[in-house]
């Protein structure tokens, strides 16, 4: 009798847990908890990521630096040439012209939008309210064959071709371990404007107590990370627009 009772209780519990409604905040908190703790994420000042980018049949070694203050820089190596391919120093966003290989400034809208992105550090979900972002649990959805919580994050609007437009992304958090496995973003301009691009993220590994996805891939390119360095010492020249060249 007692045995049966406990089985029944267990079944009821099993059912009620699966019906237990999660809120967006709980999911996001679980994510930070499971990937190193919110406090540790808050302490993160910057990262250097080294890896290989695969696109259009090419393998391109890269090194990416991202800092809390928004500065970022991507160095790539192509045919023996190592160069900073694109960077943002907090004021100027620039990249190399593919014909001349010289640095050129991004247009003012792209630079402004880059500035806004600073707040995303290290994740748009970390203290999202202070950033002025909104998050919403859209519901459960199966992606990559896996049950996930679909969470919408609404960031500050961005400006594209002279018009302000909403900036929405969707993150799919695995219901089992609460890490995002897919990030979905909208293409913001050109003939594909409005279409969604999905980035699959995986191969989470621990680096000094924090978990980072060592693999990110979309239909256009994939990035395979070999190394994450936390809180790196960086030189200003890594980000600065190479004037007078």
């Amino acid at each position: 009798m007692n045995a049966l009772k406990s089985i029944t209780v267990a079944l009821v519990l099993a059912i009620s847990t699966s019906f237990y409604a999660q809120t967006a905040d709980e999911i996001v908190n679980n994510y930070f908890e499971n990937t190193g703790g919110k406090e540790n994420w808050e302490k993160l000042e910057g990262i250097t990521m080294k890896g290989v980018m695969k696109m259009q049949g090419m393998e391109i070694p890269f090194e990416q630096v991202m800092m809390k203050d928004g500065r970022q820089s991507t160095t790539i190596e192509l045919q023996g040439n190592k160069m900073i391919w694109a960077a943002y120093d907090g004021k100027i966003s620039w990249s190399r012209n593919q014909q001349t290989m010289e640095a050129e400034k991004s247009d003012n809208e792209a630079t402004e939008n880059m500035k806004k992105q600073t707040k995303d550090w290290p994740s748009p979900f970390l203290n999202y309210k202070e950033k002025g972002y909104a998050i919403e649990l859209i519901g459960k959805e199966t992606v990559d064959g896996t049950e996930t919580f679909k969470i919408k994050v609404t960031k500050d609007p961005i400006t594209v071709n002279g018009q302000s437009q909403p900036n929405i992304s969707h993150y799919y958090f695995d219901t089992e371990n609460f890490v995002p496995i897919i990030i979905e973003e909208e293409i913001q301009e050109g003939p594909m404007k409005g279409q969604k691009i999905k980035m699959s993220i995986s191969d989470y590994q621990e680096v000094e107590g924090l978990y980072f996805p060592f693999s990110q891939s979309s239909q256009f390119q994939s990035m395979d990370f070999k190394e994450f360095d936390l809180n790196p010492e960086v030189e200003a020249s890594l980000f600065a627009f190479p004037e007078g060249k």
Binding site: G57, G80, G145, H170, S200, Y204, Q205
Partner: protein, 1022 residues
């Protein structure tokens, strides 16, 4: 409680546990990242129901389509993206909340231009983020929603006009109102179960004033009725509390469907088109509906009200108005006179004026969206709306195979499943006019059969001769007239290439490709005269042939025995002959649970067993939306239902797999469903597959591609479904399982495509790469996972990006190995990015997941159509490899040069006194380097003179890219370049022995280390 009971309970639990071990994966869990490919086409596009533009941003526009969902443009109609893939694709109305136009959008589903082929909706939806996410807001059984009106001062106050069910009675019709943003709804105007709201409009200047047009209407499979005593126009001035009929000046007697519009710039001016036996036409009221005056009864205004009942008034000028119609009509004198809109696809359903400039207009037609910049005089079609509505598709056996199909009001076409640069509009060829339905390729000759509505023409098109002949069967002397369905069935024999079948109420067969016909059956239908209505339409007679009933609808000759032929009729008979038509048996009475006279939409004769067939029934035209799928294994003596509640929507088509008879593909009004266990469980396929109505499915035998003809999203293909054949319980419990792949063919082709503009839709090609297909029991999320292609010795050829989804993963390999290490120069050498192709043979596939390793193999085969000999291939590989090595030798040489230069320059900077020894190194090495790589210029018109690297990589790239053995010219060139390379190496050694040696001695003396030069192996690996 006694002991026995406990044991019994435990036994139950135990058995549940046992059952639970059978793994049943549903939907995406099973299909993983097996994805559909949408190939359009968009060149003929499809029917548009409703257009809606943003009230303040002229770049934003929504199009609600008949069968392709909702599309949004954010660039003034230049391009559109689908925003409603997961929901019912048949749209009645799209409405932007004027108080929150960037974010809040409402969609009422279920198209409202009620032709015979319309689909159904499943309620009202709302988005609060500009279409990114949708939430259902009720009205599940409304079937069609035609109007949504929102108080421009209060987003919570919304009115919805429900047109309701087309083929049956329904109480879910009328005007509904919410005051809490859609949480609760009140029905505030209702007439009866036959009469719905065909239009509801709110006075833009007074949200309490509403006009509602009520329409009595009904469709059956054999007729249509528009109008009756309950059709009427109502007005409310108290926010819907009370309603009054406003017919002062309208014709007396029964009325039909209204078209209705208020001039936004003057609320007193209201226009209405009235369907009536007498005095039909456009009425105008200048006193807000108190009285009406007939202005015009031109054809363009009164034609087919059930299909065209939309009037739109210019937002700025109350005297400019447009009426939908066969061609669309525009008036610039307040409705007194009209002229046609500019030339575009006929059947105009909706028009919107640009908010700022009324010369800019958007028009929705049976053939997509058109734009005008000159007030509707000239029209430009949007080329990127792949919402084509196929009734039927078929495939041939060419490589690449072609897809044939007919479309609603858009003729018949065929186009390739793959084309250089993608499947472009120009790749599609027309093979019939009017409404297109079934299109079939002759099995052996370059001949295509196609037809138009009701078999008015049945074309036999000789592609090579560009010659067409009408071969429609004709009535025989002394016998009944032939009744052909609107979508008349035809079939090509599996056994006799020239044999061609057509069905009227009889089955006709021709053994000479349609030149001569023989009747091989009696009337196989019920021949019920009550269902042979020749005066369809109601108030406006509408004789198009679309309602011809009691006809044969599907013909299936057994692939195993040509004497076994199945015929299904639209009035519910399932007839079979086993003697080539001498005797027929109606087997429908043997089917349990099927309502009488339910339309037989498709019969699929099994390719596994002679007596086995599948029958799909569709009762929607009698208001029955249930799913009916049956299987017989004994020529129809007994039938078994294959339906489970996992299937959504009424079904139209089923396809049996050619290899695994338990694998079935079912097309319903809401998408594609697949079973891998003979119908015990069904999974909806949603990977890049919208919830579109699947009208027909074909399975290409060589490629195993599942090809879907959708009625609203064009042709959708799932490339190579063969992994589904292999799935069984044994596989599903494994952590990783590699499916047996077909050998991959290294196709020897390369052509020119492209040329479409960026605003033209281009269908994706299938991947021509090798495929590595595996199943993962669980998605890979934590830890490293790699996928590597290795030769038989375990040396890595290339590393691939593994798929990590739970379920089926498909990883492609483009047959390329790693590219060479290229010498560093100032600019790039584009040929240097070329990676050599792997040779035919068997390769190891190694998947590493954490600490575990899983292996499989893949076989590459040379193109069987190739004329290249094995000896030539060996020669080609040899030269490619030699040039590859030359490239890397050069790269290494340049590395050594660069390292020494760098070191010497650094030392010189630090110790100016070292000038003599360091500058000698720099000078000599730079002189050498300048002959090896480009050190100046850019990648475009300031390009420097090519040096050894550029010349070598051009030759390497060319040779690596080709399949043939190298030409004499190439070999000669190789010799020249290799001589230069060797010379350079020698020069370096000379410098190394002299200037560099001196420099190194100097370094040693000053306690410094020499330049850091990697070993060649280290360098290559770096």
């Amino acid at each position: 409680m006694n002991k026995q009971f406990i044991i019994a309970s435990l036994a139950i639990l135990f058995s549940i546990h046992l059952q639970a071990q059978e793994v049943v994966l549903k939907g995406k869990e099973l299909f993983g990242n097996l994805e559909a490919r949408q190939i359009g086409p968009a060149l003929m596009s499809g029917r548009i129901i409703d257009l809606e533009n943003h009230p303040t941003n002229d770049r934003i526009l929504y199009a609600g389509t008949a069968g392709g969902g909702v599309w949004k443009s954010s660039n003034g109609g230049a391009s559109f993206s689908s925003v409603f893939d997961d929901h019912a694709q048949s749209i009645g109305v799209v409405k932007i909340d004027p108080n929150d136009p960037d974010n809040t959008i409402w969609v009422g589903t279920g198209e409202i231009w009620t032709r015979n082929s319309v689909s159904i909706g499943d309620g009202l939806y709302k988005s609060t983020d500009g279409g990114a996410n949708w939430k259902k807001m009720g009205f599940e059984n409304s079937e069609r929603i035609g109007s949504i009106e929102i108080n421009p001062k209060n987003s919570n106050e919304i009115y919805v006009g429900v047109l309701g069910a087309l083929w049956g009675d329904s109480e879910e019709r009328g005007v509904y109102k919410t005051v809490d943003g859609g949480k609760t709804w009140n029905k505030i105007l209702y007439v009866n179960e036959k009469t719905g709201v065909n239009d509801l409009i709110m006075d833009p200047n007074d949200p309490n004033t509403l006009y509602a047009a009520m329409w009595e209407f009904r469709r059956t499979a054999w007729g249509f009725n528009s109008g009756g005593p309950n059709s009427a126009l109502y007005k409310s001035t108290d926010a819907g509390k009370t309603w009054n009929k406003i017919h002062n000046g309208f014709p007396k007697g029964d009325l039909g469907r209204f078209a209705l519009a208020i001039a936004p710039s003057n609320s007193k001016i209201v226009y209405a088109v009235v369907e009536s036996k007498e005095d039909k036409g456009l009425y105008r009221s200048d006193d807000a509906g108190a009285s009406w005056k007939l202005l015009n009864g031109d054809f363009g205004l009164v034609v087919r009200p059930f299909y065209f009942s939309r009037i739109v008034v210019d937002p700025k000028n109350p005297d400019i108005l447009v009426k939908g119609g066969l061609f669309g009509s525009i008036s610039r004198d307040g409705g007194k006179t009209f002229k046609n809109l500019g030339s575009m696809h006929p059947d105009i359903h909706d028009v919107v004026f640009d908010i700022n400039n009324s010369d800019r207009m958007y028009v929705g037609t049976d053939g997509g969206v058109y734009r005008s910049w000159d007030g509707g005089s000239t029209m430009d079609m949007v080329d990127n709306l792949p919402i084509s509505q196929f009734y039927h598709i078929s495939v041939d056996n060419e490589e690449p195979y072609n897809i044939y199909g007919g479309l609603q009001d858009n003729g018949s076409w065929w186009g390739p499943s793959s084309s250089p640069g993608g499947i472009e509009a120009r790749d599609w060829n027309r093979v019939g006019y009017g409404d297109g339905f079934r299109v079939l390729k002759h099995p052996t000759k370059n001949i295509i059969y196609s037809e138009m509505q009701g078999a008015q023409n049945v074309w036999r098109y000789d592609v090579d001769k560009n010659y067409t002949k009408n071969i429609a069967p004709l009535p025989i002397k002394g016998e009944a007239d032939l009744r052909f369905n609107w979508n008349a069935p035809m079939a090509v024999s599996n056994h006799q290439p020239d044999r061609f079948y057509m069905g009227s109420q009889f089955l006709h067969v021709s053994d000479d490709m349609g030149d001569n016909w023989k009747k091989i059956s009696p009337d196989l239908t019920t021949n019920d005269p009550a269902k042979q209505d020749k005066e369809s339409g109601g108030i406006s007679t509408d004789k198009s042939g679309a309602e011809t009933h009691t006809t044969i609808f599907t013909i299936a000759e057994s692939p195993i025995d040509q004497k076994v032929i199945w015929v299904g009729t639209d009035d519910g008979n399932v007839q079979v002959t086993q003697d080539g038509g001498a005797t027929w048996t109606n087997t429908v009475a043997n089917i349990q649970g099927l309502p009488k006279n339910t339309w037989v939409y498709h019969i699929e004769a099994s390719s596994h067993h002679k007596g086995t067939a599948y029958a799909v029934f569709d009762g929607h035209a009698s208001g029955d939306m249930n799913t009916y799928v049956y299987k017989t294994s004994d020529f129809g003596k007994t039938w078994k239902s294959l339906v489970t509640d996992e299937i959504i929507g009424f079904a139209r088509n089923i396809q049996e797999d050619y290899v695994n008879e338990d694998l079935l593909y079912l097309g319903t009004e809401f998408g594609l469903f697949i079973t891998i266990n003979g119908g015990k469980n069904w999974s909806r396929f949603t990977n890049n597959m919208p919830a579109a109505a699947v009208h027909f499915i074909d399975l290409q035998k060589k490629t195993n591609d599942l090809v879907l003809g959708t009625h609203g999203r064009g042709v959708i293909i799932i490339d190579d479904i063969s992994p589904l054949r292999q799935i069984n319980q044994e596989i599903l419990v494994k952590d990783v399982h590699f499916f047996d792949p077909k050998p991959s063919i290294i196709k020897e082709e390369g052509g020119f495509g492209g040329g479409s503009t960026e605003l033209q839709f281009i269908g994706d090609n299938p991947s021509s790469s090798a495929k590595i297909i595996y199943y993962l029991k669980k998605r890979h999320t934590f830890g490293k996972m790699t996928l590597s292609v290795q030769d038989q010795n375990g040396t890595e050829i290339v590393s691939l990006v593994p798929g990590k989804a739970k379920g089926i993963n498909i990883v492609t390999w483009n047959f390329r190995k790693k590219g060479p290490k290229v010498a560093a120069g100032k600019t790039f050498t584009f040929s240097g990015f070329t990676a050599p192709r792997a040779s035919a043979g068997t390769y190891k596939i190694v998947l590493k997941k954490g600490k575990k390793q899983y292996e499989s193999a893949i076989t590459l085969q040379n193109d069987p159509t190739s004329l290249i000999s094995e000896k030539d291939r060996i020669a080609h590989n040899k030269t490619t490899q030699e040039l590859f090595n030359d490239m890397e030798d050069l790269a290494y040489l340049v590395h050594k040069i660069d390292q020494n230069i760098k070191k010497a320059e650094a030392v010189l900077k630090k110790v100016p006194a070292s000038q003599k020894v360091t500058s000698a190194v720099v000078k000599e090495l730079n002189a050498l380097k300048e002959t090896l790589v480009v050190t100046t210029g850019d990648n475009y018109v300031d390009e420097a003179e090519p040096q050894l690297r550029e010349k070598l990589s051009d030759l390497y790239g060319e040779v690596a890219e080709q399949f043939e053995k190298p030409s004499f010219a190439q070999l000669e060139n190789q010799e020249v370049l290799e001589a230069r390379l060797n010379e350079a190496k020698a020069t370096y050694e000379k410098i190394n022995g002299k200037q560099i040696a001196k420099f190194n001695k100097y370094l040693e003396k000053s306690g410094e280390t020499p330049a850091k030069i990697l070993s060649k192996e280290e360098f290559i690996k770096k």
